[in-house]
């Protein structure tokens, strides 16, 4: 039986202060890297995943789509909404932007 629990992850402290572009081949700290190394393993491991997005310099649209958008595509909007909680104290629009990306990408969920 796998052990399930609530998780908290701070992007600025644990991943990077400088999130980059879409793919690993484009440069450091990409959305693909964040998705494959952090987001998906945590999403599968945890009952409730809280991601704190506060403290980075910014997030590019491609980074968000490749990381959170892909989550929506793989698991569907309902599953992501059930498990994922987002915090962004320094950018109130960011959480809505991410959910919009998850919603659009979840249309490709099969």
């Amino acid at each position: 039986m796998s052990t399930k629990h609530d998780c908290f992850y701070n992007v600025a402290k644990e991943f990077s202060m400088f999130p980059g572009g879409r793919l690993k081949e484009h440069g450091p700290d990409s959305g693909e890297e964040f998705r494959d190394d952090i987001l998906i393993p945590l999403f599968e491991e945890c009952d409730l995943l809280t991601i704190d997005l506060t403290g980075t310099i910014t997030y590019g649209a491609s980074f968000l789509d490749e990381s959170f958008g892909e989550l929506g595509k793989r698991y569907g909007l309902a599953a992501v909404k059930n498990k994922l909680k987002l915090i962004a104290n320094d950018d109130p629009m960011l959480v809505d932007t991410i959910w919009e990306k998850v919603r659009i990408a979840s249309k490709e969920y099969k």
């Binding site: 400088f18 980059g20 572009g21 310099i57 649209a61 491609s62 320094d90």
Partner: protein, 382 residues
Amino acid sequence: MRHLLTKRKKRLLREQVLQRIREKRRIARLDVIYNPNKVSTEHRPLVNRKYSPHEPTRGRAVLKFPKKMNFRGDIDETIYFLDKLKKEILYGDSTEVLLDQKALDSITPETAIILVSELQRCIQYKSMKKRLRGTHPDSPAVARILTDIGFYSCLNIKSPPHAEEKSSRAFFRIMPGNRTDARIANRLVSHFEKVVSFEPIARKRLLAALIECMDNVHNHAYRKDGISPDLIGEWWMAGFVDESVGQVGFIFYDQGVGVPTTLKEKWAVKIKTLVGMNDAELLQHAVLEGITRRKSERHGNGFPSFKEFINEIPAGTGGFLRVISNKGDYSYCRNARSNPTTVEIPLNGTLLIWSIHPNKETVDKDGRIDLSSEGLQTRLAI
């Protein structure tokens, strides 16, 4: 009679040789010989190995710079000259090209960036037999701009000794690159924060736009399978601040195929262009609503994010985003009617300019964007 002719011929030949020696000495004195093997940038651009250079045969070509180089009133002449420069260096038959900057008496930073990038490309791809030489401009102000913007350091040439020493402006040197790295964008913006403060959200939007620009270059800008002389994935980023009025401008440029060309790969877009949508309107559509050549809705969101910085600047602050690519020229301002215009000669690549002016509105009485109110366009064109 024959003896006299030979004597005259000899004298003419001697004069020609002496003239050539004098010219060589003059250029050596100026110390402005372009060295193709010393491009002193921090990174090494990716070269297209499939390209084979055109071998020159003989002769010397003199490329006289126009009097004014800018993307306002002289946009067509400027693009024409930049195109001519590339063609002469890469495909011309002359073994030596002299870049005569003497007449140049005004140049805007965005033009200087494109000029630098074009020369970098030419140096990388020209035949080994071709030599590039240059003269310094007569105008100290132009010399100063080119020095500040990193024109000479990028090409590893000594800056002119007569460049103006004092200036209220604080330029930042060109930052070339070929990968998406938020640290570079952050370094550029931080540099300007020494004199101009940004609202935290506006800062985030600006950085997001710059990162998205870098990523777009990777995704769409260059044809990776072509044989054209491209510095693959290469982009140039720069900015300026005028401390006296707190004016800030950021510039991003790539030498790719251009946004309209990329978008036309999609059939739906191609059909729209066939029924009358021009390059400028395509750019407008891309900036306002987002458009992509791909099927997925998830793509095409980068361009709309470029205008977010302009939307976030405080009320009372003037500012606009300008995009020039292929034959399209589109400017976006929060409170103004958009004005897509067509340029005669297409610009190869994509140029983006964000310009903000804290003490001046950039909308004229007719509700149109007043480009002349921006420092990027006028104050630097001395």
